[in-house]
Structures are given as structure tokens and as C-alpha cells.
């Protein structure tokens, strides 16, 4: 065995050990969801059953909250991406006195705990008559994810050499044409990261929709999972595991679709070039 082989073997073994630690809590949710007498430790069920899923798969518990979540988070993520790409281009390409203060402000906004502004935001929504509206909630969720998305998009855009646009500029292309025809196609991995991260962050967000939406028929899954917790005095671990899995499914699917599409271009789950 050469030195390269030894180092490869060592790397594989260490990685598998770390991976095992990461996978244990995930195994628990998988096994508990098909176990009608699930407890707190990882155990393979004696007689696997789909009863837990049957119990939670109905309009009130699962279907409507999931659809609400998709509308809220999908809408917000796309709007965030559009605004962030537009904003990142001048910040990345044109150096003005305005850039630095703007990016500093964006940084401060990234660090801002949203819990802190929820009270005044609620007041604002009352004034603007936006409480309990999907549109208003989408706009606020977009705003909360924007600072980070702008920052990340700009960092990825900085990685695309400006020399590639120079040819287009010589040919008389405008800056928006250069952005959408040249820069964006070159930074798809970065765009995908921004989109995935934004959507996943929003999908898990409990506090914002909890404060801004009131009607039970408009609440997304992130809020209803809390009512699910409190509905039962005795926690049914199996049903909770099943519901957790269903609730997690959209972000998993989105991630898998994107990582497949990205191929060798980006290091999402084993797509790194060897």
C-alpha cells in the first residue's frame, strides 16, 4: 500500500465515524416513525407499521399546513433570490462610496435576532392591515432572509471574474444583460446554495408565522407541529416521528433535486471532484 492509499483509508475511516454520530438521531426518527410503541432510544421495531403515518395524514394535521408552508416559504425564497441577485450585482461590480455603508448595514441586519423586532413588526402589521395575510407574511419573511442572501450572493458573485463581462460590455451589452446572460449562468452553484439555504431557513421558521398569521387554515406546518405537541398530554413518539418526517420531506426533496442537477459543479453531498 502506498502512502496515498493509507491516507485515503484513514480519511474514509474518520469520516465514517463522524457520519455515524450524525446519523444516530436520524435513525431514531426513521425507526420510531414505523414503531407503534416507540420510545426514546434507537431501536428497530419488532413489527413495522404505517399506523403512525395513517394517524397524522389528514387535511387538518398534515395536508393544509404543508401546502400553506410551501406557498409561504416558496414565495418568500423566490422573492428573496430575485431581490438578492439584483442587489448583489451593483455591490459586486460597481465600486461606489455607497457600497461599504450598505454592506455594513446588511451585516448588522444579519445579526439581528428577529425575536427582538417581532413586537414592533406586529404593531406595524396592525397599522398596515397586514395581520393574517399571506402576502404580508411573505414580504416580512423575505425581508428577514434578505440580508444574509445579499451577503452570500455577493460573495459568490465576487468569485466570477469581471474580465468575462468586459467582452460583453465592449459589444454594448447593458449591465442587466451582463448579469442575466453571463454572470448568473456562471454562478449557478452559488445561486442554488442561496435558494436552498433561504428555503430551509424559512421552512423551519416558527416564530414569524406564529405572530403574523392567526387563522388556523392559514398556518404553516412549522406552527402546527407545535400545536401537535401540545394536543397530547402523553407524547406519542411514533406519531411525532412520523409527522416530523412528513414535515421535513419538502426540504429534503428540494435538496435532492438541486444536488442532482448540480452534478460535479458543487460539493453538495459527494459531488466533489476527486
Amino acid at each position: 500500500m502506498t502512502r496515498a492509499h493509507v491516507s485515503k483509508l484513514t480519511a474514509n475511516l474518520i469520516l465514517l465515524a463522524i457520519g455515524a454520530v450524525f446519523v444516530l438521531p436520524l435513525l431514531w426518527v426513521l425507526f420510531a416513525s414505523i414503531n407503534s410503541t416507540a420510545g426514546l432510544r434507537v431501536e428497530v421495531p419488532d413489527s413495522p407499521t404505517l399506523n403512525n403515518f395513517r394517524a397524522v395524514l389528514n387535511v387538518d394535521t398534515t395536508y393544509r399546513p404543508m401546502l400553506n408552508g410551501l406557498v409561504l416559504c416558496g414565495g418568500s425564497a423566490l422573492l428573496t433570490l430575485l431581490c438578492a441577485v439584483l442587489a448583489a450585482y451593483p455591490l459586486s461590480r460597481f465600486k461606489t462610496k455607497f457600497n461599504r455603508p450598505f454592506l455594513l448595514t446588511v451585516l448588522f441586519a444579519t445579526g439581528l435576532p428577529i425575536t427582538a423586532v417581532m413586537v414592533p413588526v406586529y404593531g406595524l402589521f396592525v397599522q398596515l392591515n397586514l395581520v393574517d395575510t399571506i402576502g404580508g407574511t411573505i414580504m416580512f419573511m423575505t425581508t428577514t432572509s434578505l440580508p444574509f442572501a445579499i451577503w452570500l450572493t455577493k460573495t459568490f458573485m465576487d468569485g466570477v471574474p469581471i474580465s468575462l463581462e468586459e467582452a460583453a460590455w465592449v459589444d454594448g451589452a447593458g449591465s442587466m444583460q451582463a448579469l442575466f446572460r453571463i454572470v448568473l449562468p456562471l454562478m449557478w452553484p452559488g445561486i442554488a446554495v442561496v435558494l436552498i439555504f433561504t428555503f430551509i431557513g424559512l421552512w423551519g421558521n416558527f416564530f414569524v408565522p406564529f405572530m403574523l398569521l392567526l387563522s388556523p387554515e392559514r398556518l404553516p406546518a412549522s406552527v402546527t407541529i407545535f400545536t401537535f405537541f401540545s394536543q397530547y398530554g402523553e407524547v406519542n413518539y411514533g406519531q411525532l416521528a412520523a409527522y416530523s418526517l412528513i414535515y421535513t420531506m419538502p426540504v429534503l426533496i428540494l435538496y435532492l433535486l438541486l444536488s442532482k442537477k448540480l452534478g460535479g459543479a458543487f460539493a453538495l453531498g459527494g459531488a466533489i471532484k476527486g
Partner: protein, 312 residues
């Protein structure tokens, strides 16, 4: 293709003034127009509420009692009250410990280690481990909290493993709650650092590392002198983002321990939430929010300074 090696550093074009290869000329206002939608949203839904916070923090605003009937300006009283309160000082310490252990040490180092190891591993191992780590990351916060509560429970999987290897387990969420929530945050957040570092590493041209190896720079030396400097921008950006994110973690801790037992895992966001919503002290709560804002600002400035000197 990375800004560290690209000959044309973005922004440098303008330094030479508008030439034949410069970006399309036009009024500065027009060039900056794409920023308008973002600015509009952030002014209305972030800046407005923050300004309101700035005002409320200096009042006795409350949901019940005198502060509810008549809002009065009380100067720095809220801040004096905070810094004189042992519960507040306790929450500052816990926040710093939580951020240090779970973000700066845990997520950052583990994420970098995973990304580095993955370059040397076989494809199958890479996909398996990558999937497990990212799987933990894509879980919604409340689900992650729930899974880790089960994992760290006295009857949970961690203690089963510890007993197998002859160690004594404990109820982590009661015995060492800040460690428990830190473990949960590392479990949940490491994927982000791993993705950032994998992306940064994949942009390093093979030739540079190969030539370093030919010159005799092996293992740790090559990592320290060649690889890490080439991804230093990614390191700083990642550190900044995960620090700021960890400072304001709320749902994970709230769902796992509610800040307890007692106040043993009550970080700043939980303390603030308790004061503002459970005790209805809106003015005091927003004053604490401002303190959190200041801590985030300090971290931002430190990293920003690093990024600037790196870019120079």
C-alpha cells in the same frame, strides 16, 4: 475560479476610471437602481421596527401595569437594571459559551475537517457522510430540537452507547444543559460550514497543491501554508455568518430546555423573550435586544476588518 486567484479582482476596474473595458457607463443612480427592491423591503420591515426598538428601549413600555397605561421616557434605567441583574450577566456568559463551543469551535472546525477529509475519501463514503451531515441540517429547527432531546435524554441513545463502552451517562439536558444545546447546535449547523469549505476547496486549482507537494510541503505544513491561506476569505465569511446565527439561536434551546433547569441554559434571546413576553416588560426586553444587537455588531466589525485586510 476564485477571487483569490482571479487576475481581475471585482471592483478594481473602477479604480482605473472608466476606460474602454469598464462597465457600461450611465448615471450612478441608474447603476444602483437594482438595489431598490431590497432597500425598500428592509427599510419598511427592518429599519422601521429597529428604530421603534430604539425608542421603546428607553421607555417603561409594558403590556400590563403603569407601563401599559402611560408610556414614559426613562432614559438608561432599563440598561442600568440589566447590567445590575445577575440573571442578565448569567445569560451574557451563557451566550458567549454557547457561541464559542457550538459555532466557533464546533461547527467551524468540524465543517472544515469534514471538507478536507472528503477531498481524500472515496466517493461512496463522501456521499454517505455528506448525506448524514446535510440531513441533520435540513431538518426544521423544532424537529432537530426534538431529535436531540431524545438522543441526549437519560434513556436516550447517547447514554446507551456510553454504557456500552463502560462510561457513566447522565441526563445531559439537566446535568449539563449548555453542553447539551451546544451539541445540538453543532449537530444541526455543521453542514453549513462543510458546504462553504467544500465549495472553497473545490475552487483551488489542483496544480497549486501538487506543486507544493513536489516542493516537499506535506500534510500539516501544506494545509497551514498553502490550503488555508487560499480559503481564508471563506473562513472569515463562514465564521462571521455562523457566529451571528448562533448568537440569536432561540427555537432550538427553547424547545429543548426552555432555558433551564433554572437559568442554566438561558442565553440572551431566551432571557429577552422571557422578559418581553412572559413578564410583559416590552421596554426592558427591547433594551436587551439592543444589547444583543451591539454584540452582533462587534463580531461583525471584527470579521469585516479581517475580510478587508485580506482583500487588500
Amino acid at each position: 475560479m476564485t477571487s483569490t486567484i482571479a487576475p481581475a479582482v471585482p471592483g478594481s476596474v473602477d479604480d482605473k476610471g472608466p476606460g474602454p473595458v469598464g462597465p457600461p457607463r450611465g448615471a450612478k443612480f441608474l447603476k444602483m437602481l437594482p438595489l431598490a427592491p431590497s432597500i425598500a423591503l428592509m427599510v419598511v420591515f427592518l429599519a422601521g421596527p429597529i428604530l421603534y426598538c430604539l425608542y421603546a428601549a428607553f421607555t417603561n413600555m409594558a403590556l400590563t401595569g403603569t407601563g401599559a397605561a402611560e408610556v414614559k421616557f426613562i432614559g438608561f434605567d432599563n440598561f442600568r437594571k440589566a447590567f445590575g441583574s445577575s440573571a442578565f450577566i448569567n445569560s451574557i456568559w451563557l451566550t458567549l459559551v454557547f457561541t464559542l463551543i457550538s459555532a466557533i469551535i464546533g461547527q467551524n472546525t468540524l465543517g472544515l475537517g469534514l471538507a478536507l477529509l472528503m477531498r481524500r475519501s472515496t466517493k461512496l463514503v463522501r456521499s454517505l457522510v455528506g448525506t448524514a451531515v446535510i440531513g441533520a441540517w435540513v431538518l426544521p429547527e423544532i424537529v432537530a430540537a426534538y431529535l436531540l432531546s431524545a438522543f441526549l435524554n437519560s434513556e436516550g441513545t447517547l447514554n446507551v452507547i456510553l454504557e456500552r463502552v463502560g462510561l457513566n451517562g447522565q441526563d445531559w439536558m439537566y446535568g449539563a444543559p449548555i453542553i447539551a444545546v451546544s451539541i445540538a447546535n453543532i449537530w444541526r449547523g455543521t453542514a453549513f460550514s462543510m458546504l462553504v469549505y467544500s465549495a472553497a476547496l473545490s475552487e483551488i486549482p489542483k496544480e497549486i497543491e501538487e506543486s507544493a507537494e513536489m516542493d516537499g510541503a506535506a500534510g500539516g505544513r501544506r494545509l497551514w501554508w498553502v490550503t488555508l491561506p487560499m480559503i481564508s476569505r471563506a473562513i472569515l465569511t463562514n465564521l462571521m455568518l455562523i457566529t451571528l446565527q448562533t448568537l440569536s439561536v432561540f427555537g432550538l434551546i427553547y424547545a429543548m430546555t426552555r432555558g433551564g433547569p433554572g437559568t442554566k441554559s438561558q442565553t440572551l434571546p431566551l432571557y429577552m423573550y422571557e422578559q418581553a413576553f412572559s413578564f410583559s416588560q416590552i421596554g426592558y426586553g427591547t433594551a436587551i435586544a439592543l444589547v444583543m444587537l451591539a454584540i452582533g455588531a462587534v463580531f461583525s466589525l471584527i470579521y469585516l476588518r479581517g475580510l478587508n485586510s485580506e482583500a487588500a
